[in-house]
Symmetry: C2
């Protein structure tokens, strides 16, 4: 259904460019809502899960990432990571550890509990993603990704 009808608007958008931009914005919003709903059953938020996935798949050999690493990979301000990690430490999902050779850094690592939870959730998450994106075939997904990359490039010029 067209976005105009989903939002119950009386008037449409003036330009195709604006309609496309709002489609990206509201589709992302819908995805976020669905993710929030999905993770609630596990006592997690989508942001917390994303952070745990980064710790699991993007950590170098020794394991763990600094808070600045996380802020860069999540495209958020580093101030935001502080309170995020505070909450996740309280929930026994991650822990801050010392960085050898740089006393400014905190290396964030999954706790045993966090690692176990991640393993439990991940399979269902991947199936969910596949089913959400199911209606698009491989070539459509590739084209979608290429278009979004071009938009991001145009944004940073």
């Amino acid at each position: 259904m067209a976005l105009k009808d989903e939002l119950g608007l009386r008037e449409g958008f003036h330009t195709l460019e604006h309609e496309a931009l709002l489609n990206i914005y509201f589709t992302s919003s819908c995805i976020k809502k669905a993710a929030t709903e999905f993770f609630r059953a596990y006592g997690l938020t989508d942001v917390q899960f994303n952070l745990m996935m980064l710790l699991w798949y993007q950590s170098p050999e020794g394991g763990g990432l600094t808070q600045v690493d996380l802020s860069r990979m999540m495209l958020v301000n580093r101030a935001n990571i502080t309170t995020l990690i505070d909450r996740m430490e309280k929930a026994d999902l991650v822990k801050r550890t010392a960085a050898p050779g740089d006393r400014r850094c905190h290396i964030v690592r999954l706790t045993a509990n966090g690692e176990k939870l991640l393993r439990d959730v991940e399979k269902a998450y991947r199936e969910n993603v596949r089913s959400i994106m199911g209606p698009l075939n491989t070539s459509q997904l590739t084209r979608l990704i290429a278009m979004l990359e071009r938009i991001r490039t145009s944004l940073t010029e």
Copy 2:
């Protein structure tokens, strides 16, 4: 540039579906950051501008929308509209007025000041949107919109 490189990831995404989903999510995030930056010069946020646009273009004859109308058109909870309108009333952008025949409702309307500001900002905003979406031609925009609509449909099943 591929999302993996923009975020500085060591490992890529496991599936094309996941990569596409994260592309939507992060592209929307980039758009939001650019919009925030754009509106800062006018003392507005992107959310406030969006609400003012709805009041201007989506109001019925008498003018104005209820808070529930706004929450539906913005895809947010109605509780969120309360504090949003509180802030915007304080900034003299909108006002709550009585709804004839239904004392439960507040009809939200632009103030003279809000209307003037909207007119000032709108032209530059539209040019901005065109330039951001510039790299995609009409047929690409149409296909992008169609794909995002299909994803939203699949989300609500």
